[in-house]
Amino acid sequence: MEHLLRRYGTGLTALCIGLTIFWLAVLVLLPNFTMLESSFRPYLAKVDEGGPLDFYSLRNYGMVLGNEVDFSIFGYVVQTPVRLKVFILTIVYSALVTVITFAMAYPLAYYLAKIVSPKSLPTLFLLLFVPLWVSEILRSFAWWIILAFKGPLNALLMTLGLISEEVRWISGFTPVVVGLVYTYVLFMVFPLYNSMQSLDSNQIEAAEDLGSPWWRTHWRVILPHAKPGIASGAVMVFMLSAGSLLVPSLLGSTTSGWFTQTIQGIMLDSQDWNAGAAFAFMLLLVCTIFVSIMMRVFGVKLSDIAK
């Protein structure tokens, strides 16, 4: 603070701090707090607001339970409230997206950080970034075309003789997972690249010199070193996937409900902002808890991720 004052003078310091406080308080905390407050209040006609019916309750949160449907878990059919089922599937498939992006990003990040010559690195990074210049909507539609029943993917696989008749890719969660992986894979690549780049290459050579095969070098030396990067990539991809609305809406099939779509339905179709707020908070809360548990399981500290 003193340092800032000395460096930039009173005016500029006040402006910097003022803007930060404005952003945090007015643009982040206030709307979230308003949502949180309204999530405990019932959805009422304008005239009843502030009247005897307007009191705090957990009724909106309870709305997630109700309308039971069949939910098959490992072959066992359980009667589950439909929104809860969507909620659980959203978490499960977001976790799956996270795992797939990791499996794809790890070799790529290792290649970029340790194998490729520094000279060709800018070109490769450019190639990775170019798709980001196209809007997310267009990219999702592109996948919708690629995966279509009479689309190029099926045509290619048939030509190669890998399949004998068209596969209906756009069914279940497949297209959503494909779309999410495609959209968020870079959020995994870059933290992984950063963490691997800081690894001393001599350690990799030392492991090899001591007789270690490549997979053990990865398991014992490279992977542990990259853990903070993996954690921060995984948190980002998981949170973004669970909170994504565009990809599940565009690429979803009739059987792939995403919880954000449920929230959208309640807020925009039913106009019930109170219940919508409650659902949004539930998603945030459960995702945060899930991430915290995962961090505990893998022994990652919050400070590691912020690096």
Partner: protein
């Protein structure tokens, strides 16, 4: 346990740059061999070719008589100690040491026991469960040695591992390394640019310059009978005089310089420069019997066990004498005129460079 290494006419090119140029040397089993040279002379490249991280462009590397072509570092009987040690910071000390055994599928109890044993060998008991970051520089050094010894290599390769340590510790670790080498009997190949290290520890030293091996000999021979100017001036100090060979006789010649004509030893070179070590210079008030130059004393610095005298000859040629302080020696005063002389058998006429095929 230990194995001999043959470098059979090896070369290594990086693009158009030839880093190692036709190096031939046989390192005996159980020997402590040093490659000595300035940075960029190709000594690290040689080490990496022996360990298998680089394949030679030409020539053959043999370890224990076996051609190592196509053998990856994890298949060779060598263990490399890196310049920055490259210990695994996320593993405790004992796991670092036993990593090589873990790779070989040794069970945990045996690994732990072996790690403790090696820690005792490097005098670092009770540190098994510490993390690497908790150790001092010298302790890390020992862990690196123990980690390399754990895989029972036939050959230990050391890439300037002492360069990061302070002077006291470095001298201590020299003795330690030498002792460990004697105890284990493993062939040690040591890379350094520090002549003191190379001379003090090695059975034999190979001096390198610009990818070529200049001389391979035991430390005394390297210091007392350097084969060329590069070796003479890289290893130890020298007074270097330019001039011409006159009257070449049997192993001896007269050498004419701007400050006089001197008798000196002559090898098989027909021209070169005259090299005299400062400690072989003597000072007296009267001219000596032979090889004597009148000089004026420019500066005298007293360094405890010896006295360094900077002097100038008539035409301004700079000469240095290093006098042993035996307690009674009269220290010459700056500004006085004296005579500096040297024995003919202590002065050598050497060519600038020449490569050897030892």
């Amino acid at each position: 346990m230990s194995a001999a290494i043959e470098l059979d006419d090896i070369c290594c090119d990086f693009g158009k740059f030839r880093a190692v140029d036709h190096v031939n040397v046989t390192i005996k089993a159980g020997e402590f061999f040093s490659f000595l040279g300035p940075s960029g002379c190709g000594k690290t490249t040689i080490l990496r070719m022996i360990s298998g991280f680089i394949e030679p462009t030409e020539g053959v590397v043999r370890i224990g008589g076996q051609d190592m072509k196509g053998q990856r570092p994890n298949q060779r009987p060598t263990a490399l100690i890196f310049q920055n040690l490259a210990l695994f910071p996320l593993m405790p000390v004992w796991e670092n040491i036993s990593f090589g055994l873990e790779v070989r599928g040794v069970d945990k109890v045996k690994r732990r026991a072996r790690a403790e044993e090696l820690l005792e060998l490097v005098e670092l008991k009770d540190s098994a469960d510490k993390m690497i970051s908790q150790l001092s520089g010298g302790q890390k050094q020992r862990v690196a040695i123990a980690r390399a010894l754990a895989v029972e290599p036939s050959v230990m390769l050391l890439d300037e591992p002492l360069s990061a340590l302070d002077l006291k510790l470095r001298q201590h670790m020299r003795a330690e390394l030498r002792a460990i080498q004697k105890r284990t009997g493993v062939t040690f190949i040591y890379i350094t640019h520090d002549q003191g290290e190379a001379l003090a520890m090695s059975d034999r030293v190979g001096v390198m310059s610009q990818g070529k091996l200049q001389q391979v000999a035991d430390p005394r021979e390297i210091y007392n009978n350097p084969v060329n100017g590069f070796v003479a001036s890289f290893v130890g100090e020298n007074n270097i005089l330019t001039g011409e060979v006159k009257k070449a006789g049997k192993g001896e010649a007269e050498f004419a310089t701007a400050i006089g004509t001197f008798r000196a030893r002559l090898g098989n070179a027909s021209h070169g420069k005259l090299y005299i070590r400062p400690e072989h210079m003597t000072l007296s008030s009267k001219p000596g019997k032979e090889n004597s130059v009148p000089v004026s004393i420019a500066d005298v610095s007293f360094e405890g066990n010896f006295i360094t005298v900077q002097a100038k000859a008539a035409n301004g040629t700079h000469l240095i004498a290093e006098l042993r302080n035996d307690g009674s020696a009269t220290v010459p005063a700056a500004g006085t005129n004296m005579h500096m002389s040297f024995a003919a058998e202590r002065a050598s006429i050497l060519p600038d460079t020449s490569s050897v095929g030892a």
